[in-house]
C-alpha cells in the first residue's frame, strides 16, 4: 500500500519535473533525532569559517584558534571542564522543565539569586572556619534558586501567567538586586568602594581538585545531577507523571495526578540546579560576590539543553562543546584581536542551525533525476 503511494507521489513529481522534492516523513526518525545536533555543529563550523573568511582571516587558522588551541594543554582542558560544569548543571535542571512543556528561560536569574543567597550566607561566616559551613552555603544556594524559580511557577499555576515572560524578566530583577547589594549594604568595607563583597573564608569555598588548576568539586555536583536526572526521567513514577503532564495537563488531571504540583516541582528542580551552578561559581573560581557572577551561563544552558536533546548524556556532550565557544572567544581575542562576543555568535549559530536542521526530523529531501 505504502509503496504504491510513494510511487504515486513520485509520478506526480515526474510530471512537475522537480529535481528536489520535500516529502513529509511518516514518523520522525530516531536516528535523525540524534544526528541533527552533529549536523548543526558542522554547519556552525562552516558558517563560522565563512564569517572569518569574510572578515579577512584564514578560516582554518581562525577555527583552530577558536576550537583547538584553547584545549590543547592540561590547563586549557581543565578550564573547559570549569565552564562546562555550570552549563551542564543548569541544562539538566532545565531539561526537567522543557520535557514537561514548561518554558523556564530564567535560569540566569535563578543562578544569580542562588548566588546572592549562598553568598549572603557565606559572608555571615566570613571570619569563621569549619567543615559545616560549605554544606550550609551550598544548601542556601539551592534554596535561593528554588525560591526564585517558584515565582514564575506559582504565577503560572494559580494565575495563568506566561512563564516565559515572568522568568525572563525576573533575570533582570535579580541582576539589579545583586548590583545593589555589592555596591551598597554588602560591599567590602575595606574594598575601596569596588563593587564587590569580602572574600569568603576558605571553609566556604569548594575544594580545588588539582593544584594549580581552577577546576573544583562542583563538577561532582553536575555529574550527580546527570545520573539523578536520568534515573528520575526514565525509571520513576515521578518521571512518568512529568512526561504525561508535559504532554497534556488535561490527561494528567484525568489520570488523577496533581498537575499543578508537577509544574511547581519541575520549576523547583530547575531552580535548584541553577542555584547550585551559582554556588559553584562564587565558591569556586570567584570566591566572593561581584557584579558578574555569570557570563550568561543561564541563557547559554538553554542552547545546551536543546543541543543535548534534553537527554542527560547528550547534555554532557553539549555542555563541553558549548563551553569551547567561551574559551575560544577568549583565545581568539588574545591572538587575533577578534572581540570575545564572537563566542556568542557561535552559540547563536549552533541554536539557529539546530532548529533549522530539526526540519529534517519531520521532512525528508528527495533528490530525483532530471526528466529526459
Amino acid at each position: 500500500m505504502l509503496k504504491k503511494l510513494l510511487q504515486k507521489n513520485l509520478e506526480c513529481l515526474w510530471e512537475e519535473e522537480k529535481l528536489i522534492k520535500i516529502v513529509k516523513r511518516d514518523q520522525p526518525s530516531r536516528a535523525i533525532f540524534f544526528l541533527t545536533p552533529v549536523l548543526a555543529i558542522f554547519l556552525t563550523l562552516f558558517a563560522g569559517g565563512l564569517i572569518f573568511y569574510i572578515l579577512g582571516f584564514k578560516p582554518f587558522e581562525a577555527l583552530k584558534f577558536f576550537f583547538i588551541v584553547p584545549i590543547a594543554d592540561m590547563y586549557g582542558f581543565s578550564e573547559l571542564l570549569l565552564k562546562a560544569t555550570p552549563l551542564c548543571l543548569i541544562a539538566i535542571g532545565l531539561s526537567f522543565c522543557f520535557k514537561s512543556n514548561n518554558w523556564n528561560i530564567g535560569a540566569e536569574g535563578q543562578l544569580t539569586f542562588g548566588a546572592i543567597v549562598s553568598g549572603g550566607v557565606a559572608l555571615l561566616f566570613y571570619n569563621q572556619e569549619g567543615f559545616y559551613i560549605l554544606p550550609i552555603v551550598i544548601m542556601a544556594g539551592a534554596i535561593g534558586g528554588m525560591l526564585y524559580a517558584s515565582i514564575p511557577a506559582i504565577l503560572k499555576t494559580y494565575f495563568n501567567t506566561n512563564e516565559i515572560l515572568v522568568s525572563l524578566m525576573l533575570v533582570y530583577v535579580s541582576k539589579l538586586i545583586l548590583d545593589y547589594l555589592v555596591v551598597g549594604p554588602w560591599s567590602n568595607p575595606e574594598g575601596f568602594n569596588f563593587p564587590e563583597t569580602r572574600q569568603f573564608s576558605d571553609s566556604a569555598r569548594l575544594p580545588i581538585l588539582f593544584e594549580g588548576l581552577r577546576i573544583h568539586a562542583g563538577i561532582f555536583l553536575a555529574l550527580a545531577a546527570v545520573v539523578a536526572s536520568w534515573f528520575i526521567f526514565y525509571k520513576t513514577y515521578l518521571g512518568f507523571q512529568m512526561k504525561v503532564s508535559g504532554f497534556s495537563l488535561k490527561t494528567a488531571k484525568y489520570a488523577g495526578y496533581k498537575g499543578k504540583k508537577m509544574i511547581i516541582l519541575v520549576f523547583l528542580i530547575s531552580g535548584a540546579c541553577a542555584g547550585l551552578a551559582g554556588v559553584g561559581e562564587i565558591t569556586g573560581p570567584i570566591g566572593q560576590l561581584h557584579r558578574e557572577v555569570s557570563p550568561d551561563y543561564g541563557f547559554t544552558a538553554i542552547i545546551v539543553a536543546f543541543l543535548g536533546r534534553l537527554h542527560p548524556v547528550g547534555i554532557i556532550f553539549a555542555s563541553l562543546i558549548v563551553a569551547i565557544t567561551y574559551l575560544g572567544a577568549e583565545t581568539a581575542q588574545i591572538f587575533m584581536q577578534i572581540p570575545k562576543y564572537t563566542g556568542q555568535v557561535f552559540q547563536g549559530m549552533i541554536l539557529f542551525f539546530l532548529l533549522a536542521s530539526d526540519y529534517l526530523l519531520f521532512f525528508k529531501i528527495k533528490f530525483t533525476g532530471l526528466k529526459k
Partner: protein, 498 residues
C-alpha cells in the same frame, strides 16, 4: 439560470492515505445532492478542494463548462461557491451584523437592507445587533448561511450541518435548503447521517476510502442499501436485550451544583439522579449544555461536595479520579487525543494512565515496565485493538483502535460503573458497532454505565433510562421505551413535554 458543476478525475494524496482517488462527479442546479461517507472517506477533502482550501494533486473543476482554478478560498467566493463549515467561523464577541459585514466591500446601509431582505424572504428571525455568543447553534448556522447568501451564490456546500442542531432546528434548516434549491442554488450536502439523506436529498453520491462508490437517485435507495454502500459490508444490527430490572442502587447524585468561574463553561443546577446495577443511564443534550462539566464532576477532575456523590454506599464527591478508581469506577472522556490518551506516547505507556493500586504499575515510586507491558498485551488482544506492537506510539492508531484501547484500559479492571462521554464520536461504523457491543456486554454482566452522548440514535440504542441536559439542568429521567428522538429533540432545545 442553470448551474452545472463538474469535477473530473480529482486526485489528492496525503502521506499514508489517498484521500481522493480519481473522483468524478457532476451536479445540476435544482436538485439537492448528498455526499455520503464515513469519517475518513474523503468527503471533507473533496469539499475543501471545491472551496479552495486544498489544491488537488490532479484533476479539474468546471463551472458551467468553464474551467475553474481554485487556489484559495477567495477564488471560490469570487466564483460564487459558498460554503458553510461544520464548525462555525464566527467572532463570538462581535454582533451578528459585524460578523456579516466583515468580509464585504459594500456600504453598511446597503448591506443591512440586503440582509434584512434575505431574512424576510427565508423567514430567519435573528436580531442583527446582539453578540453572536448569545445565539443558539441553529441561529449561528443561519448567520453563516446569510453570509453566503449575501454573495448570491450559485453553489452552496453544507458540511455536516446538523451535528450541532436539535431536531426542530434541523427541520427548519431542511425547509430553507429546499427553498434555496427551488430558487436555483445548487446544494451539496455532506453528511454521514443516512436518515437525513433520505429526508432531504434528490441524489446521493457515496464515498468510501477515497473512492466514489456509487451515484444514484434517492427514490431507488433506502437506509439499509445506503448503509451497506457506505460501510462496504452488510451491517449487523445489534439490539439490546431488555435489562433485568434491578433495584440495587449503585450511584446516587444528590443536589449537585457547580458554578464555574470560566464564562465559557456551563453552570450545573441542582442535579439529581441515580443508577442501579446493570443499568445504562443515557444523558442526551446538545454539546455545550453542561455535559463536559458533568463528566468532569463525575470523574473527579472537578472536586465537588463530598456528600453529593454516593457510590456503593461511600461518599466520594471529594476524591480525585485516581482515588475514585479504587472504588471501581472507570472513565472514558470525550477527547481521545488530548485527554484520554497521549498520542506521542507508546501504547503501553498510555495503558499506565489508568493506575489503580492493585495494578502494581508503579512500585515504590519506580516504573514496573514488565507489568505494564503484560497488561497492555492483554488489553490489545481482549479488546481487538488492531496492532501487536505495544511499543507503537498511539498516534499511529486509528480513532477506532485508540478508542478500543481506551475503553479496554478502563474496563479491564472490571469496574462497577463506566462513565463515558461521546464514546463513538468521529469513529467509523465498524468501530462504533464494536464499542456498542462492548457496552451492551458490560450491562449484561450487571455493571452500570452512565453514557453522556450527543448522538441520539446511540442513546436510544444503548440506554435503559434517558435524561436530557439543557443549560446545566437535567430533565426528569424517562424509561428508554417511552422516549422517541422527537421527544428528545424538544427537550434538547429547551422545550417542555408533558
Amino acid at each position: 439560470m442553470n448551474t452545472n458543476l463538474k469535477i473530473s478525475n480529482i486526485i489528492k494524496i496525503y502521506p499514508g492515505c489517498i484521500a481522493n482517488d480519481n473522483v468524478s462527479l457532476e451536479f445540476e442546479s435544482g436538485k439537492i445532492y448528498a455526499l455520503l461517507g464515513e469519517n475518513g472517506a474523503g468527503k471533507s477533502t473533496l469539499v475543501k478542494i471545491l472551496s479552495g482550501v486544498i489544491i488537488p494533486d490532479q484533476g479539474k473543476i468546471f463551472l458551467n463548462k468553464n474551467i475553474l482554478k481554485l487556489n484559495s478560498p477567495l477564488d471560490a467566493k469570487k466564483n460564487d461557491i459558498g460554503m458553510v463549515f461544520q464548525h462555525f467561523n464566527l467572532f463570538e464577541t462581535l454582533s451578528v451584523f459585524e460578523n456579516l459585514i466583515i468580509d464585504s466591500d459594500e456600504t453598511k446601509e446597503n448591506l443591512r437592507e440586503k440582509i434584512e431582505l434575505i431574512m424576510k424572504k427565508y423567514n430567519f428571525l435573528i436580531n442583527l445587533d446582539v453578540p453572536v455568543l448569545n445565539l443558539s447553534a441553529g441561529q449561528k448556522q443561519k448567520v453563516e448561511i446569510i453570509r453566503c447568501l449575501i454573495r448570491n451564490p450559485k453553489v452552496l456546500i453544507m458540511d455536516e450541518p446538523t451535528s450541532v442542531l436539535t431536531e426542530q432546528e434541523t427541520s427548519e434548516l431542511f425547509l430553507s435548503l429546499k427553498k434555496f434549491s427551488e430558487e436555483g442554488i445548487l446544494i451539496i450536502y455532506i453528511t454521514h447521517k443516512l436518515k437525513e439523506v433520505i429526508r432531504l436529498c434528490d441524489e446521493v453520491a457515496v464515498m468510501r476510502k477515497g473512492k466514489l462508490v456509487s451515484v444514484s437517485e434517492i427514490k431507488n435507495e433506502n437506509i439499509e442499501s445506503l448503509a451497506n454502500k457506505m460501510v462496504g459490508q452488510n451491517l449487523k444490527t445489534i439490539k439490546k436485550k431488555k435489562a433485568k430490572t434491578s433495584t440495587d442502587q449503585l450511584i446516587k447524585i444528590t443536589n449537585l451544583n457547580f458554578i464555574s468561574e470560566d464564562p465559557f463553561e456551563t453552570n450545573l443546577n441542582n442535579i439529581n439522579f441515580s443508577v442501579n446495577r446493570g443499568e445504562c443511564l443515557g444523558i442526551a443534550g446538545i454539546s455545550g449544555n453542561g455535559q463536559s462539566e458533568l463528566f468532569q464532576i463525575l470523574s473527579g477532575e472537578i472536586i465537588s461536595n463530598k456528600n453529593s456523590i454516593e457510590f456503593n454506599k461511600n461518599y466520594i464527591g471529594d476524591l480525585n479520579p485516581q482515588e475514585r478508581r479504587e472504588y471501581l469506577m472507570a472513565f472514558s472522556p470525550e477527547d481521545r487525543l488530548e485527554q484520554a490518551a497521549i498520542p506521542q506516547m507508546k501504547i503501553f505507556e498510555n495503558v499506565a494512565l489508568n493506575n489503580f493500586k492493585s495494578s502494581n504499575f508503579f512500585k515504590n515510586g519506580l516504573i514496573n515496565e514488565n507489568k505494564i507491558k503484560e497488561h497492555a498485551k492483554k488489553i490489545i488482544s481482549d479488546f481487538n485493538v488492531n496492532t501487536d506492537n505495544i511499543e507503537l506510539k498511539s498516534q499511529f492508531l486509528s480513532g477506532g483502535n485508540l478508542q478500543k484501547l481506551i475503553i479496554g484500559r478502563e474496563l479491564i479492571t472490571s469496574p462497577d460503573l463506566l462513565i463515558c462521554f461521546n464514546p463513538t464520536w468521529g469513529l467509523d461504523v465498524g468501530a462504533i458497532n464494536y464499542i456498542h457491543e462492548t457496552l451492551i456486554k458490560i450491562n449484561e454482566q450487571d455493571k452500570s454505565i452512565i453514557l453522556i452522548s450527543t448522538d441520539t440514535d446511540e442513546l436510544l440504542k444503548l440506554s435503559d433510562k434517558i435524561s436530557v441536559i439543557h443549560k446545566g439542568k437535567l430533565s426528569k429521567i424517562m424509561n428508554a421505551e417511552e422516549v422517541t428522538s422527537e421527544k428528545l429533540g424538544v427537550l434538547m432545545g429547551g422545550g417542555e413535554i408533558d
